[in-house]
Amino acid sequence: MRSGWPRRWLWTGIALGLLNVAVANVHLAGRPIGASTGYPWAAAVLAGLRDSLYFREIDVAGAWELLFLAGGFVGGLLGAFVTRSFRLRTVPALWERTRGPGGGRRLAWAFAGGFVLVLGARLAGGCSSGHVLSGGMQLAASSLLFAVFVLLSFVVTARWFYGGAR
């Protein structure tokens, strides 16, 4: 009766948790997984702002996280090719149903969304990886507070942004 066999979420969650514990081991990375510091690090390098106050604070973490992002790109590509699911697409199905088929509009909104997303992550000092996964792993007060406000804002915004047209 239970849906969800083979319960991919369960095995994937376990593997993800084991991986983060392994990465945090002092013999491996000695720090947990994080992603969002890669963006200001890359932006500062591209814009020649290596002397800025913020870059000096995030120099080590940012380089690490940019490599994590690069690995994510390669892993995404690899997995999509292995499972033959690679396909260039611009407008997700749910977006098309609720906000229409326009590709330019979708890209513009995605750009704006990415801006607000990373700005929020930098203000808070972390994202789904660094705060929720890694901070949650360590029962960090900041990360648990972050998770609560992300969830509230996420659900309210999704309802407002997609809910009306359904």
């Binding site: 969800g4 991919r8 369960l10 969650g13 593997a15 993800l16 948790g17 084991l18 514990v21 081991n25 491996l28 000695g30 969002s36 200001p40 500062a44 800025s52 106050l53 913020y54 380089a63 994590f68 690069a70 690995g71 994510g72 790109f73 390669v74 995404g76 590509l77 690899l78 690679f86 697409r89 611009t90 997700p92 890209l107 513009a108 995605a110 969304g113 801006f115 607000v116 929020g120 992550a121 930098r122 203000l123 808070a124 972390g126 789904s128 990886s129 996964l133 901070g135 792993m137 360590q138 960090a140 007060a141 900041s142 507070l145 998770a147 406000f149 992300v150 804002s153 659900v155 942004f161």
Partner: protein
Amino acid sequence: MIVAFLAGVVVALLIQRVGITRFDRVVGFGLLEDFEAPKTVLVAVGVSSILFLLEFQLGWAVLNVKPLIVAGVVGGGILFGAGMAVLGYCPGTMPMALGEGSLDAGAGMAGGLLAGLAFTEAYPRLAPLLGPDLGDVNLYARSVGATWGWVSLFSVACLAAAFLLDRPRPISPSPDSRAAI
């Protein structure tokens, strides 16, 4: 540093299997219709929290807790949630989704880079406004025994929440009274 790259590859291959790299799955959660993503994350945190405590007690890991800078964490969390709803990806899944061919994730990354630049520029003036900074606090107790009890409780709560979310959709009215247990 090679660990960072490999971790990225492995995380992408793992969460791809649950579809967390896809817009529809993430926004489906925002609309409270699809709980695969939070179930996976809850299991990951439930498993890692207890194992990390063991690792930490054995001296094989150090705490790396982010500071509780209240206004930054709350304001940043609100912006982050809104951005994730519109974009349908998070900072870590954007390059994974782009690798799968989702070009909108590439547009999101461009926006993210611009945000990174803006934040870097604004940081000296912005930093003093994000406080108060309550420090790198986590919920570990003073005594080892209490910490184990507390983390065990947290871990079980995360796992229980994941299994609770693994029920038939709460939206569809179901006469199944066994679900009330």
